[in-house]
Structure formats: structure tokens, C-alpha cells
């Protein structure tokens, strides 16, 4: 009987200690949580260094790092009940995603139509962004140069002044999410803006609040 009490006492003590430890670790590592709307606003706020803006004489480039939670928020803005965020999250593990947007600084006309001399030139530009621009994109991660595993040009058919490229990179090793400083590099061949770079530090990535879904 005494032995049973002693085992129970030790078991209870270990259990309480484990709960205490996990709570301590959880509290020390966790950030404040944000709801979807506030979370996306945080990620898009240039002050948090997850969105970098590069201005040239005539164009403005924005490079937006997209955490997995941000992708989920943007994909499920309509709160579709069939949408499975856990499944989506696991499909994103081991990758890093970015939006590369560009527009003219002082114009509402689509940048693809800027300074054109013929329709053929427009088609050439469009073809470049649809099929070849990914070759001019790379991600520098922990000494490795990564090429996109996925690329998409969001063709807005000249309805908006801003054009966007979406690129995803597979992280080397077994990293489930970006753990090192990243530098996204794009060489703009169409508008002669040169090499566009944006650095995203681990500190800024680690400071991202949790999403309250």
C-alpha cells in the first residue's frame, strides 16, 4: 500500500513538473497572438521588415516574405469550411515563399505597357514574365543558392498597375521553416533596373506573432 502511494506520489510530482516545464517553455518561446486580419497587416507592414521596397528612377519593387500562416490567411479569406489549414501547413513545410511585385512610381497604368513601341514588344514582355523570369530569381540561404521550385506570374490583364510574381523555394536539409537569414535576388532584364535584393533576417522571422486561427 505504502509502495503504491509512493509510486503515485512520484508519478504525480513528475506530471506536475512536466506541465510546469512545458508551460515555462511555452511562455518563454511564444509571442503574442494575432487574428487573421491583424496577422496579415503585420506581415505586410514594411516596419516589420518582412516586406522590402526597392525604388528605382521609374519603378518600385516590393518583395514580400510569406510565412505559412500568412499564406493560409490569404488563401482562406472567405472562411471556407472545407479548407484544411493543417493539411495545407504540412504541404508548405520545408519551403519559403515570396511575392515580387513591381509597378511604376508615378502612374496607374500597368507597368507591362510602360514605354512600349509595339504589340510584339508587349507580348515579348508578357512571355518573359510567364515563362522565363523564374530563371532570374534566386534565394541565398545559409551559403546555398536556391532556384525556385515553383513560380507563377499573376497576370492581371492590365487591370491593375501592379504586377506580381510568386516564387517558392525548397529549403536545404531538413529545415521545416526558414531558420537562417535569406536574401532574395531578382535580376530585372526588362526595365533595366539592375539587380534587386531583399534581405530577411532570422530575428524578423522569429518575431512574427502567432496566428490565432
Amino acid at each position: 500500500m505504502n509502495k503504491a502511494i509512493r509510486v503515485g506520489f512520484i508519478g504525480g510530482f513528475i506530471g506536475i513538473a512536466l506541465i510546469g516545464l512545458s508551460l515555462t517553455l511555452g511562455l518563454s518561446s511564444c509571442h503574442h497572438g494575432l487574428k487573421a486580419e491583424a496577422y496579415t497587416a503585420y506581415v505586410q507592414n514594411p516596419a516589420n521588415h518582412l516586406k522590402r521596397t526597392i525604388t528605382t528612377s521609374d519603378l518600385e519593387f516590393s518583395m514580400q516574405y510569406k510565412p505559412y500562416e500568412y499564406i493560409i490567411c490569404m488563401e482562406n479569406r472567405n472562411k471556407d469550411k472545407k479548407y484544411d489549414p493543417i493539411k495545407r501547413m504540412s504541404s508548405l513545410r520545408g519551403t519559403a515563399w515570396f511575392n515580387i511585385s513591381f509597378k511604376r512610381t508615378n502612374s496607374q497604368i500597368s507597368v507591362l505597357r510602360y514605354g512600349l513601341s509595339s504589340l510584339a514588344e508587349y507580348n515579348q514582355r508578357l512571355n518573359y514574365y510567364l515563362n522565363y523570369a523564374q530563371k532570374d530569381l534566386r534565394l541565398l540561404y545559409d551559403g546555398d543558392t536556391l532556384r525556385p521550385i515553383s513560380y507563377e506570374f499573376e497576370n492581371n490583364y492590365n487591370l491593375a498597375p501592379q504586377e506580381t510574381m510568386v516564387a517558392g523555394f525548397a529549403l536545404p536539409g531538413k529545415a521545416s521553416h526558414p531558420e537562417k537569414n535569406m536574401q532574395l535576388v531578382y535580376y530585372d532584364r526588362v526595365f533595366n533596373s539592375g539587380i534587386i535584393k531583399a534581405t530577411f533576417s532570422t530575428d524578423d522571422i522569429n518575431n512574427i506573432p502567432n496566428l490565432i486561427y
Binding site: 522590402r52 528605382t56 528612377s57 533595366n192 534587386i196 534581405t199
Partner: protein
């Protein structure tokens, strides 16, 4: 009474002169060595690195054709020598064109990026005027007092690498 008015006018005039001098002294000017800035910008180095491979490849091709041409000429094979001479001329022209075009492109792209950065640097430091010294006689003399070249190079490179 007249002396009081005269003194007041004198005080006012002196005050205006001092005020004007203070305003003038507060106008900040900087001198920047444009060539040093251009050469110190990391993007220029990166672009040169990209072009370098292509130019070296063309140059090696040209050397190889030239060597063959010399050998064939020594062996007095007239037809082959003529053909290789034509190829050599074409490659030389191509290398020159490539070099000129890449220089022009680098120049355009670098200044397209530097101009807004110089403007933002000027605004950040409250400068009213930035004079670009380029060794062509625009600035005939300056001691280092107004020279902000090194600081500007640091600024543009940090913006280039960080992306803001």
C-alpha cells in the same frame, strides 16, 4: 528722438544681416566623388561579375582562332588562313560590341538605382545641395570638409543589400 530712431534702424538692419548669415550657414552642402561612388556601388561589381564570364568566353574563343590562324598562315594554307581571318575579325567585333553594350547597360542600370538613393540620402541628412565631382573640372578644389563620398557609398550599399 532722432538718435533713438537711428539706433533702432541700425539694430534692425544688424539683426537682419545676422539672421541672413545664420540661414546661409545652415544651408548644408556635400561633395561626392561620382566616379568613386559608381565604382564603389556593389551592384556595379555584381553586374560586372555577370558580364565577365561572357566576355572571357568570347576572348578565349578569339585567342584560339588567332592561334589556329597563325599556324595555318605559317603552313601557307591560304584558303584556311583567309577563312580564319574572317572568323577572327567577326569575333573581335562581337567582343567589342558586347563590351560596349554591357558597359552602357551597367551605366544605365547603376545610375537608375543610385539617383533615388542619393536623393533619399540628401533628405535624410538635411542637405540642400550635393555636388558630384567627377574629375572633369566641376569641382576645382575641395578639402575633405564637405566630402561625403565614403558615407554615401556605405549608405547605398546597405540599401542595395538590405532592400530598402
Amino acid at each position: 528722438m532722432r538718435s533713438i530712431v537711428t539706433s533702432a534702424i541700425l539694430c534692425l538692419v544688424t539683426g537682419l544681416i545676422v539672421y541672413g548669415l545664420v540661414i546661409r550657414l545652415n544651408r548644408k552642402t556635400a561633395v561626392v566623388d561620382a566616379v568613386k561612388l559608381f565604382n564603389g556601388y556593389n551592384m556595379k561589381k555584381d553586374l560586372e561579375g555577370q558580364v565577365k564570364g561572357k566576355l572571357e568566353f568570347l576572348s578565349k574563343q578569339m585567342d584560339s582562332v588567332q592561334n589556329k590562324w597563325r599556324m595555318v598562315s605559317a603552313a601557307k594554307e591560304q584558303d584556311s588562313a583567309k577563312m580564319l581571318s574572317t572568323i577572327y575579325g567577326m569575333l573581335k567585333q562581337k567582343l567589342q560590341d558586347e563590351y560596349t553594350q554591357s558597359n552602357k547597360m551597367i551605366n544605365t542600370e547603376v545610375w537608375k538605382r543610385l539617383n533615388p538613393l542619393i536623393e533619399s540620402y540628401g533628405k535624410k541628412h538635411g542637405l540642400h545641395l550635393i555636388i558630384g565631382a567627377n574629375g572633369m573640372g566641376t569641382v576645382l578644389y575641395e578639402d575633405n570638409y564637405y566630402d561625403m563620398t565614403d558615407d554615401l557609398i556605405k549608405y547605398v550599399n546597405s540599401k542595395y543589400e538590405q532592400g530598402d
